[in-house]
Structures are given as C-alpha cells and as structure tokens.
C-alpha cells in the first residue's frame, strides 16, 4: 500500500475526533478546537507526503495543533479580541495551556469525546446542523464526504458547520456532559442524531439508490463509540442493538440490480451473522440495565426487541407476529407517533389478518398526519390487495409511487400497482 494520501486519510479519520475532543477540553470552544485540528491536518498534508507518516501520528498532530494554539494566543495578546479570553487565561498563570495541551492526548480522552458528542448534538442547533457536526467531529468525516452522503453541494455542508459552530459559541454552550435532569433529554438528542444518520443510509429519502450503506456504517460506528463512552445507559445499547440488527440485513435489502427487497422476501442466509450476534448481545445488555434500574424499556430498546424477533426467525413464516404486534403496542404507548402506528398496523395485519391492520391504517388516514408519506398508501394498498380489493389497491400503489422521492422505491410501487388483483 503505497498511496500516502490514503494513509493520511486513514490517520485523519482515526485521530480527528480525538484531536478535537482533546483540544476542546483546553480551549473550551469546539469551533476553535475544530479549526486548530483542521490547521494541523493541513500541515500534515504538506509534510507527510514528503517526510512520511510519523510513527505516532496522533501525538504529531497534537503537537502541531498545540503550536498553532499558542501562536493564536500570542496573536491574541496583540490584536485579536476573539482570542482574548484564551490569552487571559494563559497569562493568568495557574492555568498552563501549553502543559494542558501536551497532556491532553496522553490522558484517557473518553470524557472529552463524550462532551464532544453532547456538544455536537446540542438542542440549540437545528437537526441538520447536529447531523453535519456529529459526522464531522465525532465521525471524522470530511465535509466533502458528508455532502456526498446527503447529495448536497459541499459548500452547503461547510456553511452548515460554520454556522453551527457560531451558534454554539454565541449561545456559550459549555463543553460538558450534562447532568440529570437535563441529561436524559440531551441523550435523546444524541441518539436521535445517530438514528437519523443511519436511517438516511437505510432508506435514502431521495436519489437513485435505495440505500447508502456507508452512512449506515458511519452511524453504527458512532453508536458503538457512544456505547463505550456511556456504558450504563440502556437506551444507548438499545440503539446499538437496533442498528446492528438493521445493518445485518443491509446486503439482503437490495437486489443486484438495485431494487429494494422487502423483509419477507429477503434471503435470510445473507444476513450478516456477526452483526446479528452483536445486535442480540447489545439487546441483552440493554435488557440487563433496564431490569437493574427497574425502568421501562425505551423506544430504541423496544424497536431493537422487534428487530431481534425478525433476526431470530429462521423463515419469514416463522416470525412471531403476535409478539411483535404486542411490542409495537408498547412502543406506541411509550413513544406515540403516526409512523409507529403504521408499523403497528402492519404487525397487526400479519398477526391477526389484513382486516385488523386495515382498521388501524384507516384511522391513520382519517387522522391526516401522514398525508404526504408514501408508505401509508403503500401499506394500505398491500392490505387491500390481500383482501382482494384490486382496484382500490392499484389506486393506493399509484398514489404511493407519486409521493416517494426515491426512484428505486417508485419502480417497486408501480410494479405492485400493475400486479394488483
């Protein structure tokens, strides 16, 4: 492997989150930390192709970033009011910025990483900004990679990140792990961001391909990191379990020509057994923690339990639908949403017949909340087709096809419209 740029990219991906986290501990400003880390990377990009990648690239980057930080402090003394605070702290004596920077990478940076995760997912930021910042800072993705993943121009993502950093600075968001009672809500925001990233990869909302597995892997990796940082949180393990189990089916979800393959039609032999095993282990961990706390299972935990039922079923026919329907009812109570209700309808149809499902779907139609969501008519069409009401089914599939923005999904829906009885 002689490509120095590939090696440098690999180092960056591994070191960037650690670097930002360690720097932010000292600067107390995630935006500034990211800039310093970025500067260090630019220097590395100049030097490493010539000098070779150093033996301890993490320490090299930290030293370089530290030098930059100190330059910044010196400048700040003279002119730049923006850095004045850091300079004051530096001059104040008891706080030895240089020493702290030198130590920062040597220590266990776990706590800093966790602070970084919470800061990147701070509720003061709009969701899109949380997603971009998390992928950049915690996932170590380059701006261009994030842009590619979300099918938007690179400048859009760059702007989003710049604005997010400014928002964090303006709001004086502290670089810390929130304590109770705020903690639960803040953790929910973190989990939501990871889940959103995974979901965008799992069912791409737009574009020519049905899934973007890269994005799923990024989300899963961040979730695993989080499980290491917050090992006592049952919902974190619940989310990891859900993502591992969903990821185990990624390959099976797409046919070779790119067409989506639905759960019932998937080749279960092609599910990734390693990921299934990891998912079930994470679920067991979540179960233990919930039992120890005497608390009810959270929404990701419940969804993981549902995914586990599918994972354990040797064939689609062997699926324990009544159990799954019961879990959806729990989920609907714990985290009510029209989407959960739609899934519950599907589970009810499988467990107790299409009529039972249709009843729930019709209630959703009357409710109107999912009027623009293509899967509502898609599910309704499926149930009507099973009940032999072909004309109505066809109309529903056509409507679903009009509503989706994913081209592959549209093809499948139109095919189902043609095939309706």
């Amino acid at each position: 492997m002689s490509d120095p740029h590939a090696a440098i990219d690999a180092v960056f991906r591994i070191e960037f989150p650690r670097l930002v986290a360690a720097l932010a501990r000292v600067t107390r400003d995630v935006g500034r930390a990211e800039e310093l880390a970025q500067d260090a990377l630019v220097v590395a990009l100049e030097r490493w192709p010539v000098d070779g990648v150093p033996d301890n690239p993490g320490a090299w980057l930290m030293t370089t970033a530290r030098r930059r930080a100190l330059d910044g402090v010196r400048h700040a003394r003279i002119a730049d009011a923006k850095h004045a605070e850091l300079a004051r702290e530096h001059d104040a004596g008891p706080r030895d910025v240089a020493g702290e920077l030198a130590d920062a990478l040597d220590d266990d940076i776990g706590d800093d990483l966790l602070r970084l995760v919470f800061t990147a997912c701070h509720p003061v930021l709009p969701t899109e900004a949380r997603v971009a910042l998390t992928l950049r800072l915690v996932g170590g993705l380059a701006t261009a990679e994030i842009a590619r993943a979300f099918l938007v121009p690179e400048a859009t993502i760059a702007q989003r990140i710049v604005r997010a950093k400014r928002t964090l600075a303006d709001a004086r968001v502290p670089f810390e792990v929130p304590r109770a009672p705020e903690r639960a809500e803040r953790l929910a925001s973190v989990l939501e961001v990871i889940y959103l990233v995974f979901n965008e990869g799992h069912v791409a909302t737009a574009g020519a391909s049905w899934t973007r597995p890269e994005l799923c892997h990024d989300a899963l990796r961040i979730a695993r990191v989080l499980a290491g940082l917050a090992p006592d949180e049952p919902e974190v393990h619940g989310l990891v379990a859900l993502l591992e189990l969903s990821a185990s089916r990624l390959t099976a979800r797409t046919a070779r020509d790119g067409t989506p393959v639905l759960l019932a039609d998937q080749d279960r032999a092609s599910w990734d057994r390693v990921l299934v095993r990891r998912g079930l282990a994470a679920l067991a961990r979540a179960d233990e923690l919930v039992a120890a706390r005497g608390a009810p299972a959270g929404p990701y935990h419940l969804q993981a339990a549902i995914a586990a039922h599918h994972a354990r079923a040797a064939t689609a026919e062997a699926t324990e639908w009544p159990r799954i329907a019961a879990l959806y009812t729990l989920l609907a109570r714990r985290a009510p949403s029209p989407i959960v209700e739609l899934n519950r309808a599907v589970a009810f149809a499988m467990a107790f017949g299409p009529d039972a499902g249709l009843e729930l779907v019709d209630a959703l139609v009357a409710d109107g909340a999912l009027a623009a969501y293509h899967l509502l008519p898609a599910v309704r069409g499926d149930l009507l087709a099973k009940l032999g009401r072909g004309d109505e089914a066809r109309a529903e599939f056509q409507r679903a096809a009009e509503l989706t923005r994913n081209e592959r999904e549209r093809d499948v829906l139109l095919a189902r419209a043609r095939a309706a009885p």
Partner: protein, 120 residues
C-alpha cells in the same frame, strides 16, 4: 480480517509476558472504543489442530503440529473500516514490540464485489 501470524513462541504454547498481554488488551479496547472491532479470537498452537485434506472422494485427517510457524495463524480480529488504508493504520498500532511478528490484512468480499453493474 486481520490475521495474526503464529510465532515460534506461540507455537510452543509459551504464554506472552504479562506486559504483552496487557498491551494487547489495551489495544483491543482501543479498537472497541473506536467502534471498529466486530470480533476477535485467539487460536491454540497447531499441535492441538488437525488438517482435513480432500482428494476426490478421499478424506485424510492429519494431526498437528504443522511446520512453518509463519504460515500458521495464531489469532484474528475482524474490523469494520472504510478503507484498507484504515485497517493498515490500525494494524500499525498493534503492540508487537521487540518480537518478530506479522499480521495479514484481507478484505472480506462485500455485495459490490459480486455486482457487475457497480463502479463501472
């Protein structure tokens, strides 16, 4: 997949030093914390293994140990990374100090390897 090659020491069933075990444990933990470690395992010396050879319908079972420590595997770690370069970067960080060691990195096939339409 990262294969750790056997050494004379591992084949002789000599346990590594306490320091080496700790260093390895720490490294595995680092992989785990970075979210890239899917699975790992250590293998017993080839003296406890067998080989099954196939010649047409005939099966021959050969007891270990097997010669050529360098051709044997002593352990494995399954990593999930985006690029081979990233796997190399992690492999470089393995704490094999002072002793002669080798790991071999072999990407698993994924769906796109069987998809003639992709990447063209």
């Amino acid at each position: 997949m990262m294969f750790v090659k056997a050494t004379k020491q591992s084949e002789a069933n000599q346990p590594p030093t306490k320091e080496a075990i700790l260093a390895m444990h720490k490294f595995n933990e680092e992989l785990e914390k970075a979210g890239v470690l899917l699975d790992l395992g250590g293998l017993t010396p080839s003296s406890r293994g067998v080989r099954v050879q196939y010649h047409g319908s005939k099966r021959t079972v050969i007891d270990g140990p097997f010669a050529e420590a360098k051709e044997l595997i002593a352990g494995y770690a399954l990593l999930e990374v985006k690029t081979l370069a990233e796997a190399i970067e992690w492999a470089k960080r393995s704490p094999f100090d002072g002793e002669e060691a080798e790991v071999e990195l072999r990407p698993l096939f994924d769906a796109s390897d069987f998809d003639p339409g992709k990447g063209v």
